[in-house]
Amino acid sequence: MQTMENKWEMLEQTSESREKIWSRNRTFAADVWFRLCRKPTAVAGLLMILLFMLFALVGPFLTSYSYSDQSLEMVNIPPVMKVYDVGSCRVYITPSLKLIRVDENGSLTGMLPVVRYEHEKSMTIFDCDGKEVALYYGRSVYVVCDEATGNIYPAGHIWNHDHLLGTDALGRDILARLMYGTRVSLMVAFVSVLVNLVIGILYGGISGFLGGMVDAVMMRIVDIISTIPLTLYVILIMMVFGQGLQSIIIALGLVYWVDMARVVRGQVLSLKQQEFVLAARTIGSSSRTILLQHLIPNAMGSILVTATMLIPSAIFMEAFLGYLGIGLRPPLASLGTMCNDANANLRTSPHELLIPALVICLIMFAFNFLGDGMRDALDPKLKK
């Protein structure tokens, strides 16, 4: 009961406590994080990116297939198979007109041996545990039937248990390749953006900081480079360095830093007029210290926004190169090369294209959403 009495007791009021800011002081990073969290799309994008990274990094340890394991028996098998119940066993018709035995779980247990070919009837006869079944390929929808009566066996759909996302034209597991391809695509994006960041910050920083003649010349060079169609140059640089991961990163790094340099220069130009730079100069800081310790950290907001926006274009460019067939060397996989490989069998096995295409789209969405959110969070002044 004592607490009840004390509840309304006046606290001692001093001028010090009146002046004190009671709410916690938020750092810049915490402030940005708070604003970012208030945008559902940005949070969704961030979560998706984290999930894809997990998928790409941890995933390969959870699957028993590697991205390069080929199995020429299990070619172009979709994730959801149409299986025919022959009685003694279930069979699946591959796009290359062979029969594969499937058990109840959806595991593929092996090819059925061919007994003979009946070309007049458009049938191939297979041996299924001593029973003869016919694969009729006379019409566009191939069916498994009884040779004598022509009765079609009952069919149903079953999920592919061995290869959750099916296999590609060389019998490689698509899930394993997808994990590997996502890793390659994300890595290309991050590393090439890092290269851009370094070149762009140094170039733009020096240009903006020194000003005058140096700035004029450096910016004319940037102007000239920015008129060049960059896609063409990425392709040309790829040819000089040959196919491969390093070449893609070098090509993207060498070409896309122009925007970054412009952004950094603009920031440095306006920041270097401020008093804190003068103060730093007064206490005898070297130009290098002023540029790297004072100016660049203050410009970090816009730099980060530009970098986040660069990532989707790097992913797109890598996929584009892969799609044109000048990206990675097989059997290495990236999302773009997977789409390219799938094009040959698009008619019969659309899953080979749709799955990596979906992943590309999701990654692009995620980065675009996150980039938008980052822009609003880092630079509230820019908000429309």
């Binding site: 060049i228 140059y233 392709i235 040309l236 000089v240 799609y323 067939g325 698009l346 789209c361 675009n368």
Partner: protein, 305 residues
């Protein structure tokens, strides 16, 4: 203004020189000469070939003679197809690409601007949401994905349109949609945001106060100013369409310039790569300049220093 454009043209010439120089040095940095192949060629043959194409001379001399050819509009012979010149490739390929590009631009303008206007007029309603969702998807999905999905559904599944070639008008539909998809989405978003901005201005309120109909306000007053940013990005849009044509012409087997370019890249046909790159670059820069001149003419507020 004339001074500004003189400066621009001067920059363009400088850029062209830089492009030629970069392309030339990149091509000569490629390991292996144009006549290195898997088959063993006798040394004399290789030497004779090198001499015929002037590859035995020092690099600066080669560059100068190449530039001299360029100034006369001669892109040199193709290294891979004997007897063919790069000019022939460009003459054969460019009209095809150009026609496709022109139709695409018309399609882009006809589709994106009305979509943007509708979204802006119905700001916040379901039409706006739908158009903006579609535009976001269109901006994010790479063109080759769009192309493959369209081919799968419309050519293979439904059989409505051919999956390759430009033999009939139907053949144009899928390539044009693929090529223009990104630009339609981008321009629709741009039109919407710029129209919304203009609609908030005072002179629109004045027009409303005069009692003009909403239709008239938009078509007569708002759109004129709202379309200016759209015109600004038309130059880069042309660039997008041209580079997009690499993918589209490959998927739909269209014998345009993009297909020649990609083929020559995979066959390492150096002169063709150089020639087409330089041609593309010159065309793009000219387009951007033309758009800028046009922009300056229609917007008297712009003052070029």
């Amino acid at each position: 203004m004339a001074k500004y454009f003189a400066k621009r043209v001067g920059m363009m010439i400088l850029s062209m020189l830089a492009i030629c120089l970069i392309t030339f040095s990149l091509m000569h940095a490629v390991p292996g000469g144009p006549f290195t192949s898997d088959r063993k060629v006798a040394e004399e043959v290789e030497a004779a070939l090198n001499e015929k194409y002037g590859l035995d001379k020092p690099l600066p001399v080669q560059f100068l003679s190449y530039m001299k050819g360029l100034l006369h509009g001669d892109f040199g012979p193709s290294y891979k197809y004997t007897g063919k010149t790069v000019n022939e490739f460009i003459e054969n390929g460019f009209p095809v690409s150009g026609r496709l590009g022109f139709i695409t631009i018309v399609f882009v303008l006809l589709a994106s601007i009305p979509m943007g206007i509708l979204a802006a007029v119905r700001n916040g309603k379901w039409q706006d949401m739908l158009i903006m969702a579609a535009a976001t998807i269109g901006v994010t999905i790479p063109s080759f994905v769009i192309a493959s999905i369209l081919v799968y559904f419309f050519s293979y599944r439904l059989g409505w349109m051919p999956s390759y070639g430009l033999d009939s008008w139907k053949g144009y539909i899928l390539p044009v949609v693929t090529l223009g998809g990104y630009s339609v989405s981008y321009l629709a978003r741009l039109t919407r945001s710029s129209l919304l901005e203009v609609m908030g201005q005072d002179y629109i309120r004045t027009a409303r106060a005069k009692g003009l109909s909403e239709f008239k306000i938009i078509t007569r007053h708002a759109l004129r100013n709202a379309l200016l940013p759209v015109i600004t990005v038309l130059g880069p849009t042309v660039a997008n369409l041209l580079t997009g044509s690499f993918v589209v012409e490959n998927i739909f087997a269209i014998p345009g310039l993009g297909k020649y370019f990609v083929n020559s890249v995979s066959q390492r046909d150096y002169t063709t790569i150089m020639g087409v790159t330089i041609f593309y670059a010159a065309f793009l820069m000219a387009m951007v300049l033309v758009v800028d001149v046009f922009y300056c003419l229609i917007d008297p507020r712009i003052q070029y220093e």
